[in-house]
Amino acid sequence: MSRYVLRFGALGYLALLLLVPVGFVFYRAFEHGVGPAWDAVTSHQAMHALELTLLMAAIAVPANTIFGVVLALALVRTRFPGRGLVNAIVDLPLALSPVVVGLALFLLYGKGGWLGGLADHGIKILFAVPGMVLATMFVSLPFVVREVVPVLREIGTEQEQAAETLGASPFQTFWKITLPAIRWAVAYGVVLTTARAIGEFGAVSVVSGRIEGRTETLPLYVQAQFEQFNVQGAYAASVVLALIAVATVVGLRLVHPREEA
C-alpha cells in the first residue's frame, strides 16, 4: 500500500511540476496545427537565435569539458596551496544568480571597468558574441568538475600506478586508464553543461543587450516574442528548446542505458 503511495506521490509531483506545464507549451504551440508552429520557428529571427544558441553551446561545452577534467584531476590527484578555496569557487556559478554574473561581466568589460579598454581597441565584448560566450561559460562551469571529482576519488590511484609500472607514460596512463574510467561522469557532465548552456537566460540577457537578430539567443527570443504578444512564436521556440533538452538526455541514456548515471 505504502509502495503505491510512494509511487503515485513521486509521479504526481513530477507531473504537476514538470509534465503538465511543459505539456501545455507543446499543446499551445501546435494548437493551430503544425504549419503555424513551423513557420514561427523557421522565421529568420528565430533561426538566427537558434544558431546563436548552438554556437554558445559549441564553444562553452568543449571548453568547460576540458577545463573541468583538468581541474578535477588537479583537485583530486594533487596537493596545492589554496585547493580548498578553488574547490569552493568552482561552485560559485551554482550559487550565484545568473543576473549577478551578467552584471559582474558588465562591470568588468563595460566603460570604466578593468578591461573596459578592450572596446577602444576594437575588441568588442559586451553586446556581442564574446561577452555572451563568457557568460555562458561562467554559468555552465561547475558541472563536469562536480561529476568527475567523486568518480576520480572512488577509482583511486592503483590502476594508474599499475599502468605506470607497466611502462605507460603519464599521457598514456591518462588516455588509456583514467579517461575510460571517468568517461560516464564526463558524459553526464557534458549533458548538464549543454543543458545549462542552451537554456541560459539571465547572464546572457544582461551582457547581450538583447539586440534582435544580432545578440538574441533562443531563450532571449522566447522572452522577446512573449513580451511582444507573439505567443505562437514564443511557444514554438520553447518547444525547440524543450526538444533539444530531451534529445540531450535521451542521447545519454541511449549510449549509457544503465541506471547508475
Partner: protein, 319 residues
C-alpha cells in the same frame, strides 16, 4: 636481477616510514618483507618500484642506480593488494597492456598473452571483464599482466591480503611453484608470518621503519635477533626476561625440578595440535602447544593443576 636498497630514508610529513634502511635481495630469490602495519614494508617496496621517491638513499636494480628513474623505466612488475585491474578492459587486454604500450607486433602480443593466460590458468576467461572474476582469478590476472613485460624483478604488495583463507593458501603454493618456473627475482610484502615462512627463501623483518633481522625462515624462528622478531615470527610466552615457544613447554602431572605449578584454563583441540592455556599462581598466563597424543595421555581438563617447565628458552641481552 638482484636488488639493493642503500641507506633509504622516506618520510611522510613528520612520520618516518623508512629510517636508513639497507637491504640486498639476491638475484632469483623470493624474499618476503615481513612486519606489522606501519612498519614500512610496503613503502620499501614502493620505493624499489619507483612509486615513492625516498628523501635519501639509493635503489639499485641489477648493478644500475635507478633512484632517479621513473617507475615506467625500471623494468619492474608490480601486483597490488586490491588487484588494480583495469576494469574497462577484458582479461586479455589487461594482460596485453604492457606489450600494447610498447607497440609490439600483434602476433608477438597474441602469443605471449596466450602463454601467460595458460601459466596463470585463465585461458578460458580471456574475454571476461575483471568484475566477472573471483578475487583469486583477478590476482592471477594481475600477475600475468605484470609478467607480460618480462620484468627483471617482480614486486607483490600484500597480493593475497584481500582473499579468503582457503584461496590464499592455494595461491601461496601456486606462487611458490610459479617462482620455481620463472625464476624472476621476487619480493612479496606481507604481515602474515606464516605466509612469509611458507613462500619465501629469505625474510626481511621490519618494524617502525627499521630492519630487525634478515634471514631464512628457519634462522628467524630458531635464532631470532631480538624480542620483536621472536614474538613476531611465532607465538611466544614471556616470563620476566625469558621467552619460551609454546611447544617448548613440558606439562607434567607431578612436580619436577624447576617446574612451576599452574592451572588449566582452557583446552583447544585443533586436530593434530592441542593448545592449552594455563595460568600460574602469580597470575602469569602461559600458552602450551601439545600433540594430540601428549594431550590424550595427560587427560587435561579445565581447573586441573599441572606442572610446567621449559625445555628450551631464550633470554635477549638488553638493547
Amino acid at each position: 636481477m638482484g636488488i639493493a636498497a642503500i641507506d633509504v630514508t622516506k618520510r611522510f610529513g613528520s612520520f618516518t616510514a623508512l629510517d636508513d634502511v639497507s637491504v640486498a635481495i639476491p638475484e632469483g630469490s623470493l624474499t618476503a618483507l615481513l612486519g606489522p602495519s606501519g612498519s614500512g614494508k610496503s613503502t620499501l617496496l614502493r620505493v624499489i618500484a619507483g612509486l615513492e621517491q625516498p628523501e635519501s638513499g639509493q635503489v639499485l636494480i641489477g648493478n644500475e642506480d635507478v633512484t632517479n628513474r621513473p617507475a615506467r623505466a625500471r623494468g619492474v612488475g608490480m601486483v597490488f593488494q586490491h588487484y588494480a585491474a583495469f576494469k574497462h578492459m577484458t582479461v586479455w587486454d589487461n594482460v596485453a597492456f604492457g606489450l600494447t604500450i610498447r607497440k609490439r607486433p600483434k602476433a608477438e602480443i597474441s602469443e605471449r598473452v596466450h602463454e601467460l593466460l595458460e601459466l596463470v590458468q585463465l585461458e578460458g576467461l580471456a574475454k571476461r571483464y575483471p568484475s566477472q572474476l573471483s578475487g583469486g582469478q583477478r590476482q592471477r590476472m594481475a600477475l600475468a599482466r605484470a609478467l607480460a613485460v618480462e620484468p627483471s624483478v617482480l614486486l607483490l604488495d600484500e597480493p593475497f591480503g584481500a582473499l579468503d583463507a582457503r584461496v590464499r593458501k592455494e595461491l601461496r603454493a601456486w606462487l611458490r611453484r610459479l617462482h620455481d618456473e620463472v625464476h624472476v627475482t621476487t619480493i612479496i610484502v606481507t604481515h602474515d608470518q606464516e605466509e612469509a615462512m611458507e613462500v619465501a627463501g629469505q625474510i626481511v623483518v621490519l618494524n617502525a621503519g627499521r630492519i630487525e633481522q634478515i634471514g631464512s625462515p628457519r634462522e628467524l624462528y630458531e635464532q631470532p635477533a631480538n624480542e620483536f622478531v621472536m614474538s613476531f615470527v611465532g607465538p611466544v610466552n614471556r616470563v620476566g626476561d625469558t621467552f619460551v615457544r609454546p611447544h617448548d613447554l613440558e606439562v607434567r602431572l607431578e612436580p619436577e625440578d624447576g617446574s612451576a605449578e599452574a592451572m588449566v584454563e582452557r583446552v583447544v583441540h585443533l586436530g593434530f595440535e592441542v593448545r592449552v592455556e594455563l595460568v600460574r599462581g602469580d597470575g602469569q598466563h602461559l600458552l602450551v602447544q601439545l600433540t594430540q597424543e601428549e594431550a590424550e595421555q595427560l587427560e587435561l581438563v579445565r581447573g586441573q593443576i599441572v606442572y610446567v617447565r621449559p625445555r628450551h628458552s631464550t633470554v635477549f641481552s638488553p638493547r
